[in-house]
């Protein structure tokens, strides 16, 4: 391996046999790699991709849908925390994604992204849902409340938020937005829950720090003092 410098991907393979192979007729057949440089290979891939992709546009005869039946319009009105906004939403977009990355309301967290942890909980017409597992287009005409919409417009905290602070509910805090929304939804529909009712209502929200009892004390405190 004398005389070889550091590996340079733009240089072609060195000449000569690398591995010898015995052919069926008994002759030794020198094996050589295909003499294609990385650069030329990439060029070939890019060009053939353009040809294949372009031809499907140019020569396709199948139309995907009838003219009078069309998929959803991407532009839609979304009502979040009392404000209605026009948003450009892809058909396969989830509400959690839209809220965080199109509206910039990053209070809502996406934890598991598969309806199992509750960090993304928001209220839709007063009922809690997992925003990570709801298509945004499903939310037309529905009033969404995220954790940003819980406190009063002047910044006064909701009793649940105050109680969570006083009872040291959050530890790492990642599940807290979901816990707050779920607790507020519970107290909106049932202002004086028993602890058993509260545990059922909060059962869709995981807390990896295990601060469930703190949150539970916070909810009972908010219910008493709310």
């Amino acid at each position: 391996m004398d005389g070889m410098g550091p590996y340079d991907p733009t240089v072609d393979f060195p000449e000569g046999p690398a591995i010898a192979e015995i052919a069926a007729d008994g002759n030794v057949k020198p094996w050589r790699p295909l003499h294609v440089s990385r650069r030329n290979f990439l060029r070939g891939v890019v060009c053939s991709g353009i040809v294949i992709g372009g031809s499907s546009y140019l020569f396709s005869t199948a139309t995907p849908a009838r003219a009078d039946v069309r998929g959803v319009e991407r532009m839609m009105s979304l009502t979040v925390n009392g404000k209605t906004r026009r948003v450009d939403v892809a058909p396969n977009e989830t509400l959690g994604y839209t809220i965080r990355y199109r509206l910039g309301l990053t209070g809502t967290k996406i934890g598991c992204n598969q309806a199992e942890c509750g960090a993304c909980t928001v209220m839709a017409d007063g009922r809690t849902i997992y925003s990570c597992s709801t298509l945004t287009h499903r939310m037309r005409g529905i009033n969404i409340v995220t954790v940003e919409g819980i406190a009063a417009p002047d910044g006064t905290l909701h009793p649940v938020q105050r109680a969570f602070i006083e009872e040291i509910g959050p530890q790492c805090g990642f599940c807290t937005p979901g816990q707050v929304v779920a607790a507020v939804a519970l107290l909106n529909s049932n202002p004086n829950p028993t602890e058993a009712e509260a545990r059922v209502a909060m059962s869709g929200n995981l807390c990896r720090c295990g601060a469930y009892d703190h949150y539970m004390r916070g909810i009972m405190k908010a219910a008493r003092e709310g």
């Binding site: 989830t94 287009h137 869709g204």
Partner: protein, 329 residues
């Protein structure tokens, strides 16, 4: 691991006719309503349908109404929360309210639908992970091998596939003798719950009689079991989210201390909800007591063929059946 969903064309018809036209046009359209089961498939990139039809916005598919025979009609796209909190359902079929309130978590019940819950696909981990098994159109079962993790799989009626029904409300539908109303080719047809759920023997790629293009319109529960005594118990690894390892659902009429007519159904032990007809035969007309419980334990799991890791389901099932009977004493 979940991923960003593939690109699909989403259609949101607001009438039944519009939905039917779409399903006629696109043979491979995937129907969603609550989309709780479907988005999991899409995010795992195991199923990637090009066209998705959302039936959640069709008004006539949601709602709960009383029927003349003392039963109820439930639209297929009614959410599980609406079913479990409905005063009408609670008055007449408490068992269905209890079963619906045991599904998954509050947030899932708030958007998941009753039609979706009973028609959902199985949770076999191999199938869900995209293994090319029998159910996925392949020619192997990955769950029924010497080393496979199959503690959640079937005890009965195995035919190549060992997956089980995951639904909590499907056994209640079978116990209550519900009628599924399906729209196929522009016509409505009625299928009793006992025939709605199908095992691998009939079609290994489906859990229900629904074919592509069919729409489940609603569920009619006849008044026969209104106000009957009932028992529901679901055993799962976690109280929330999780699917039943074994669940038992029973409705019974008790007169003068003796059990009259009774229907007992087990979930999580077979591809379809399993009606425990042998238990029903043993206890019908008898007075519940410790002796009967022992008898029930003996017959409840008769014929079970456990796999490597699900032997625990046999005593679990026997005990659940015995506890259901005990509740009638």
């Amino acid at each position: 691991m979940s991923d960003v969903m593939h690109n699909f064309e989403l259609y949101q018809p607001n009438s039944l006719q519009g939905a039917a036209d779409l399903l006629d046009e696109f043979d491979d359209a995937w129907i969603i309503a609550g989309a709780k089961d479907s988005l999991g498939w899409f995010k795992d990139r195991v199923k990637q349908p090009a066209v998705v039809v959302d039936l959640g916005g069709i008004p006539e598919l949601a709602g709960i109404e009383p029927t003349d025979d003392g039963g109820v009609y439930i639209g297929a796209a009614t959410t599980l929360t609406d079913v479990s909190e409905s005063t009408l359902v609670k008055e007449r079929f408490q068992i269905l309210s209890v079963a619906a309130s045991n599904v998954a978590s509050p947030q899932i019940r708030n958007s998941g639908t009753i039609g979706g819950n009973i028609s959902q696909d199985t949770r076999c981990v191999y199938y869900r992970d995209g293994f090319p098994c029998y159910r996925a159109g392949g020619n192997t079962c990955y769950a029924n091998t010497p080393t496979a993790m199959n503690r959640e799989h079937a005890l009965f009626e195995v035919s190549r596939c060992v997956a089980v029904t995951p639904s909590d409300t499907a056994p209640a539908m079978v116990a209550l003798g519900a009628i599924m109303i399906i729209r196929r080719d522009g016509e409505e047809m009625e299928v009793p719950a006992s025939e709605y759920f199908i095992g691998p023997e009939i079609d290994i790629t489906r859990m229900t009689v629904l074919e592509p293009g069919d729409i489940l319109l609603g569920i009619r529960i006849p008044g026969e079991w209104a106000n009957a005594r009932h028992y529901f118990e679901k055993i799962a690894d976690r109280n929330t989210w999780d699917f039943a390892l074994v669940s038992v659902t029973m409705v019974a009429k008790v007169a003068g201390g003796a059990i009259g007519d009774v229907a007992m159904v087990c979930g999580g032990v077979q591809c379809t909800p399993r009606r425990l007809t042998e238990v029903e035969d043993v206890i019908r007309g008898e007075v519940p007591g410790p002796e009967m419980e022992n008898l029930v334990r003996r017959v409840a799991s008769r014929g079970a063929k456990p796999l490597n890791f699900n032997h625990f389901k046999v005593p679990l099932m026997e005990n659940l059946a015995a506890r259901a009977v005990r509740s009638l004493a």
